[in-house]
């Protein structure tokens, strides 16, 4: 049956531009301007979906994207509301939540037979025994109920953007009041944007005969005075700071407004009566939209039951479309005791009003026009029940928010429908919530079980938690609860309205994916040199350029080059810089000469190790502090936080990104440096732990003679933008020494051979200096410093655990984090472990009971489930006297 009317002047469709798509494999033809829903309805389809739980056939109810009745899967995208989704050539539309098709859904047996097993909360009651079968039940239930299915294999399609905007006035709702408010604000000189979810503004005006003209005139006027019209667009919610996210095509506009005008109008409420979900029962707005927007005749014979003027408007529209109106009930004039709809195969065939039956294929019914107050509630408005009109109205609206028109409660004097027209005789289901298939019986049952608060009822029955988010069921559920408990609606109250008010897809919320990564200035060169990269915090660093063992040998036997630009680098300068460092570090810096370097460990006020690095004194009042690769930001904050209290005269400047750093290490390091630097680097002029400035390959540099990897080494710190140039120079000039670039893996072996710790790897949030075997750092003979008290407490109580080196008598490499076992119990853990060619053993660091921290003591480590003996080593595994380092 084709329901398309003859061409009308104001229709939205372009009959000259046909569009074809398929629904469940069958071709459907519509026109440009149609939605999938309107095209399908025009071609005679009445059943659009199956209900959530009972799999009852469902048809169009609102035609405004407010309910769940027309949800389907479009081109693999589930839960698309067909009544508002513009038609697309070639689209593949399919019913969802069905076994079979929407016309023949085998799961509809649930409606006939499973009622007694599916009361509210049934999954806590009828499907709990035997308990071990719950996973099976759960799978069955999840397959039998729900919405569309997400495709876990789906990948991102299309582009999604975020835009940050601000205006003086944002109007939500493009009906006559919204447009009027926008025009007035713009005329007063404000910047104004208006959001409306229709393809053009006009709101309810567009649903009335002769409403198009005034709607267009208002929209044109708004454009003329500079109002920005965002249509179709949806306001998702109102957040703190008058932030309104707006879904506008593929863009999420994060709009901030000095004033938000909510002109969202009203939401037509369904009437609650047996058979109220039959296909063919719809809201007046839906019938009007079908006729006025898409020139569709909604039915042949209609019964119209409403509580306000929408009924009269619908009658006018239906008659103009050639629909025979068999009966009209205005609930302001007559309040029937009972209304019962009957049907065949899920479609309405008649209505009985107080026992008088009327044959029909269309029931246009609505109760109270509920002000759309959700956005106001998000903003903190108070909403009260208006007993005289049977709706919730906003009463206290916060500053910066204004409500106009229907949303403000301007709904005239509608009739007050019964919470339920079922009476006592009907056995047919009477739905309060069509999204979640909750009936009057379910809600009364929940109430009888003790769920007497509307918030509890919401969670127990899931009323208002479906896709309509309470638009079509909140008021009715409150009114039914009031009736059931013999109280009034104001005592029942409302449930909390939370964003999103309009559904929004996660891809729009997510926007474009961003993954900020920090790269050193030599990144591309590393890749050219064959490096495999790894993450260290936000940084990308070379793991190795080939064989890490060969890299280690290269450093021990010739010279290695490693990019250490990721080290945190901080300048601390000013009159009080030395005093400050003395107080924030446990060791001493005041007595350090300019041009010298010291190792430093930072501890928290609880004495726990938080970071480490070197401190070079560049001048009396200037120190250059390095930190761990991920620690710079936290150390700068730590310094600034303490100095906010101490008030020393100094500046802290984070120069981590400004400077690149390269460590040149190995017995040939000096010879290589001599080719490149313009300062003497011989052992006497440039001693171990000296800091000097000079040029390396012409690049201004700070050179630090330190040795994390245990060989003679120079750390070159220089402007990062010259990183590639300097690395190239080192590699070229070092070629005949056999200079090798080395990565993090070899660095980890080399530092482990020297038993140098990595903060965060070998320490955790509980580690203190004494137990980490660094008592020499603590200078308890100086004044107060951060963590001093705690260090004294540890000293007084004695050490319980110790970080020690160990050699393992096996060829199997244990995992880092592996257990140390004593008397069959875990008593410690391995923090670092590697195979060392230089030490000819598997070596590592581990936390062991303090009494095991004796040279040569043995303990057991668990490796692949077996206990392997290990021997404690308190000295470095390589060059224990540091002769190579100091050479």
């Amino acid at each position: 049956m084709v329901s398309r009317l003859r061409a009308r002047e104001d229709e939205r469709i372009d009959r000259g531009r046909p569009v074809t798509f398929t629904f469940d494999g069958t071709a459907v033809r519509g026109f440009e301007g149609d939605t999938f829903g309107s095209a399908m309805y025009a071609e005679g389809r009445r059943v659009f979906s199956r209900s959530f739980k009972y799999h009852r056939p469902r048809g169009l109810v609102c035609c405004a994207g407010q309910c769940a009745n027309c949800m389907a899967t479009v081109d693999g995208r589930p839960n698309v509301r067909l009544c508002v989704e513009p038609i697309r050539e070639g689209a593949d539309v399919n019913g969802q939540n069905v076994l079979g098709s929407v016309d023949r859904d085998f799961l509809s047996a649930v409606d006939r037979f499973a009622g007694p097993f599916t009361p509210p909360g049934f999954y806590y009651k009828t499907f709990i025994r035997p308990r071990r079968l719950w996973p099976l039940y759960e799978k069955l239930l999840r397959n039998a109920a729900g919405l569309g299915k997400l495709n876990p294999e789906a990948t991102r399609e299309g582009r999604f953007e975020k835009e940050h905007r601000s205006v003086d006035v944002l109007v939500v709702g493009g009906g006559s009041e919204g447009l009027q408010a926008a025009i007035e604000a713009a005329q007063a000189g404000s910047s104004v944007a208006l959001v409306d979810d229709g393809p053009e503004p006009g709101g309810a005006l567009l649903l009335t005969e002769s409403g198009d003209e005034p709607a267009r005139a208002l929209a044109n006027k708004a454009r003329e005075v500079g109002v920005e019209l965002l249509c179709p667009a949806r306001a998702v919610g109102v957040y703190e700071g008058n932030l309104v996210p707006i879904e506008y095509d593929n863009v999420l506009i994060r709009m901030r407004a000095t004033e938000i005008v909510v002109a969202a109008g009203v939401v037509e409420q369904p009437l609650v009566f047996p058979g109220n979900d039959l296909v063919g029962v719809m809201l007046p707005g839906a019938a009007s939209r079908l006729v006025r927007f898409w020139s569709i005749k909604p039915g042949e014979r209609a019964v119209v039951i409403t509580a306000d003027d929408s009924g009269a408007r619908a009658v006018e529209t239906l008659k103009a479309a050639g629909v025979r109106v068999a009966a009209t009930v205005d609930l302001r004039a007559t309040m029937p005791e009972t209304i019962v709809a009957s049907g065949k195969k899920g479609r309405v065939t008649g209505v009985s009003i107080d026992g008088d039956s009327v044959r029909c294929d269309l029931v246009v019914a609505s109760g109270s026009p509920q002000p759309a107050h959700a956005l106001l509630s998000h903003a903190g408005a108070r909403v009260d029940y208006d007993a005289g009109r049977g709706v919730f109205v906003p009463v206290e609206v916060p500053d910066g928010i204004r409500a106009v028109g229907g949303a403000a409660g301007d709904v005239g004097q509608p009739g007050l429908p019964r919470p339920s027209f079922g009476g006592s005789g009907s056995k047919a289901k009477e739905f309060v919530c069509i999204c979640e298939d909750q009936t009057t019986k379910d809600l009364r049952y929940a109430h009888a079980e003790g769920y007497d608060s509307i918030e509890l009822s919401k969670r127990y029955t899931t009323v208002t938690m479906g896709p309509c988010q309470g638009r079509l069921c909140h008021l009715n559920s409150v009114r039914l609860y009031a009736e059931t408990s013999g109280t009034d609606e104001s005592l029942i109250g409302t449930t909390t309205a939370r964003p999103p008010w309009s559904p929004v897809s996660l891809e729009v919320l997510a926007g474009r994916p961003h993954e900020p990564a920090r790269r050193t200035s030599m990144h591309d060169r590393h890749k050219k040199l064959g490096a495999t990269m790894m993450w260290t915090g936000e940084w990308r660093r070379p793991y190795a350029y080939g064989d890490p063992a060969a890299e280690v040998r290269g450093v021990h036997e010739a010279v290695g080059i490693i990019d250490v630009s990721t080290l945190g680098k901080i300048l601390v300068s000013g009159r009080d810089a030395a005093t400050f460092l003395e107080r924030i570090y446990p060791n001493r810096f005041g007595d350090m000469a300019s041009g010298r370097i010291r190792y430093g460990v930072l501890t928290s006020d609880a004495g726990r190790i938080t970071d480490d690095g070197t401190i070079a004194r560049l001048a009396d009042d200037t120190f250059y502090v390095t930190t761990t690769s991920t620690g710079a930001g936290a150390v700068v904050e730590w310094f600034e936080w303490w100095n906010a209290i101490w008030g020393y005269e100094l500046d802290v400047v984070n120069v981590t990104g400004s400077l690149a750093a390269i460590n040149v290490a190995g017995p040939d390091a000096r010879a290589l440096m001599e080719r490149l630097v313009d300062i003497p680097v011989d052992a006497d002029s440039f001693r171990y732990l000296d800091a000097r400035q000079g040029h390396v390959a012409g690049v201004p540099s700070l050179l630090l003679r330190i040795g994390f990897v245990g060989e003679l080494g120079y750390e070159i710190h220089f402007p990062s933008v010259q990183g590639e140039f300097l690395l190239d120079a080192l590699v070229t000039e070092g070629a005949d020494f056999g200079a090798v670039p080395f990565g993090l893996e070899s660095q980890r072996v080399l530092r482990l051979e020297k038993a140098h710790i990595l903060v965060g790897q070998d320490t955790d949030s509980e580690s203190n200096l004494l137990e980490a075997s660094m008592p020499w750092i603590l200078k308890l003979d100086k004044g107060d410093f951060v963590g001093r008290w705690s260090a004294e407490q540890v000293k007084a109580r004695g050490l319980e655990t110790r970080l020690v080196g160990f050699r393992l008598k096996t060829d199997d490499l244990p995992v880092e984090g592996g257990q140390i076992v004593g008397d069959g119990q875990p008593v410690g853990r391995i923090t670092s472990v590697r195979r060392s060619e230089a030490a000819d053993a598997i070596i590592g660091l581990a936390w062991v009971p303090a009494d095991k921290a004796v040279e040569g003591a043995s303990f057991e480590a668990r490796v692949d489930g077996e206990l392997i003996p290990a021997e404690v080593t308190l000295e470095p595994f390589y060059d224990p006297d540091g002769e190579r380092l100091r050479s």
Binding site: V653, T656, S658, V721, Q722
Partner: protein, 205 residues
Amino acid sequence: MSTLAFLSTDATADSRWTPIARSPMQRQQRERGARFETRHGWELAVAFPNESEMLESVGIAELPQFGKLDVRGAGARPSATRCTWYQMTPQRALCITDATITRSVRAELQESARQVVDVSSGLGSVALIGPRAGEFLRRITELESFPASGVVCEVHGHVLTINGGFLLLFPQEYGHYLYEVLLDAAVPFDGGPIGVDGVPRGTIW
């Protein structure tokens, strides 16, 4: 050398070597057909194909050669005109200079400031130029009145106004990421990269 000379590329002295500065965006610039020239010690992307079309919407120009000075203490202001002063807090400012005068401005500011740290190497700089630059900027940052500091493309940076657009300053180690994100964000605008020479005269100073 002065105490903090190692922070400044212009402290280059050794005549045997000619150090070159390069930005982390260079690889992507090459892929997009940039022509490079060496100026002021920098290998700069001076031109790209179709620059005039980009400038009708939003052109993205990397200008890494600018000097950037982190100035601490109140009172100091440079006398030169080819520089921009961004007072971040009463005690801290950022001074952006033309590459040719960075050394002299630094010396001048050091006379009166408590501390001047050359962060030229630490901050990348990209200009967004064209009639849709404002609209483009709204897609990448929440900031709305400039100059301002805050999050741009998920990275902390600074946004300054220039004639017909904006100048973004950001930690250079995010340069490759930021360039990729900016060029991608420019796609719906039909915008794209322009070179140093494509920046219309008078845009910056």
